[in-house]
Amino acid sequence: MKLYSKFLLIILIVPIKVNAQTVIDITQGSEDPYRLAIIAKEGNQKQTQKVLSIVSQDLKRTGEFYIFDNKLLLSLPQTEEDIEYREWRLLNCDFILIADIQETVAGIQLSYEIFDVANKEKIRSSKVYGITDRFRQLGHYASDGVYETITGIPGIASTRIMYVTQTSDSKNKYQLFIADADGLNEQLLLRSSEPIISPVWSPDSSKVAYVSFETGVANVFIQEIATGKRFSVINKKCNDCRFNEQISSPAWSPDGKYLSLTLYQDGNAEIYIFNINKKLLTRMTNHYGIDTESKWSNNGRKLLFTSGRSGSPQLYEIDLRKLNKRPKRLTFEGNYNAKGSYLPDDSGIVFVHRATNKFQIAIKYFDDNFVIPLTESKMDESPSVAPNGNVIIYAITENNQDILAGVTLGGVKFRLPSASGQVREPAWSGFLN
């Protein structure tokens, strides 16, 4: 019997647009939100309202904003001169956004200004140029600007998420999707009859890497998002490696030149760094325990991974500039700490943590010696941190249904319910703009 004799038959590429299947649902919001009035200037009001409704939804979705119902406003100022700050203070309004859309030959243009009621001053004046009829993208860009000016943290409405779905349709059982951060605008990257796991974005978000079982064994592929061009990262015939060609767990270095991978060539999971251009492999771990799930620190100096060397899965870190040193153990609480990743500023790690019988998403800052659980369900998995470091998306299982959920470091919780199939393995892109 031959193991690797399943043939790759067809690779077919078609741009497919799938109707949006997911809607964000806030389960727990902030107790002290920013209170914002959003006003469309008269003139092109209908178009402006369209974009502003996207801005409003994006901001509400963060759980950190209260948006006024315009019927309750005492006036609808069109310019800075129209604003009676005292009136807005009485309404307990923190910020006013006034916006206006212009349509030109080149496309649409949104102008907006933000006013700070407490300090009675204009704090932002911006223009966003977009493509005609692409109101959603324009709205996401504007909302990111508003969010950043008010909270001081970059917004993520214009970033994207990737995830795997599984359905009972045997031919297209596994599908890899990309969608906007709000779960809409879902687009198919890959479909297969065999499992797809561990998708990750390249640092510039133009490519993805993932593990596909399409040849009958786990193997790592890189795929260009725009063209669908894909290749298996290591094409080797295994002569000397005890019949184990399995490769898994890809993670991109911050400069995009390397992938860390898990190879099983000598009978056990070990971590390697693979130079993508030169096709060179460098071994990073050597232990009889399982070593896998590597992730790079954002400064590129460290590699985080899960190891079973202590008897249960725990997180360890390799200093890439001190390879002669033994990996440093980072987690000591709980009997299962796995699939870790660094926060964007490398101040701590987010991971799957098991205390008693629950698998939760948890965070540990390097300055602290304790673990902070962020979620409370029983089977939370696969956390991925947004590029602003403020939101974590993860997979939960509820009534035998796998869905995606999110939590902000401020405690806001939301979920992305799916109309069909199991949704899992979420991965957040980097900033796209």
Partner: protein
């Protein structure tokens, strides 16, 4: 491989910050990117060995463990004797895990379970070249429900 591509509209991106006031002034352009879909199909009708003789067995493991239990070893003794008598016989050893814990760790765990079985067979005189190892991690459960009974059935190595 056929490639179709959709049009990619790109991006000019300008930000400038006014230097003489506290107002943040910006200009930017929305970036649009195109996406292509790939479809992968596998053919299951591959040729299998013509040997009439085959061996199949399943052995089970504890949570997060890959060591063989005495009960597993009883089953594997049968595999050893069949394979010793039929020297042409080759087998696939397929490792699996339950769905608790992370997918990649479970993939590695399934592989270690398969490896434990292979090590046992090898130490009992079966040549390594007759053994193929593969792990599916938690991806191919026997029972997809989420309870102890299902989990214990899913933590297994299948010999085919």
């Amino acid at each position: 491989m056929h490639l179709t591509r959709s049009i990619s509209i790109l991006t000019i991106f300008i930000i400038f910050i006014a230097s003489c006031s506290s107002v943040q002034v910006t200009e930017e352009s929305v970036r649009e990117s195109s996406i292509a879909t790939v479809e992968v199909s596998t053919d299951d009708s591959y040729s299998t060995s013509n040997l009439a003789m085959s061996v199949s067995a399943t052995v089970y493991f504890d949570f997060d463990k890959f060591n063989l239990t005495s009960r597993s070893i009883q089953a594997l003794r049968g595999v050893v004797s069949t394979m010793s008598e039929n020297t042409e016989l080759t087998i696939v050893i397929e490792g699996h895990a339950d769905d608790r814990g992370t997918r990649e760790y479970n993939l590695a765990l399934g592989q270690r379970r398969a490896e434990s079985v292979a090590d046992y067979l090898e130490s009992n005189g079966i040549n390594r070249t007759r053994l193929s190892i593969i792990s599916y991690g938690e991806e191919n459960p026997v029972d997809a429900s989420s309870n102890e009974a299902a989990w214990s059935k899913n933590r297994r190595v299948e010999i085919k």
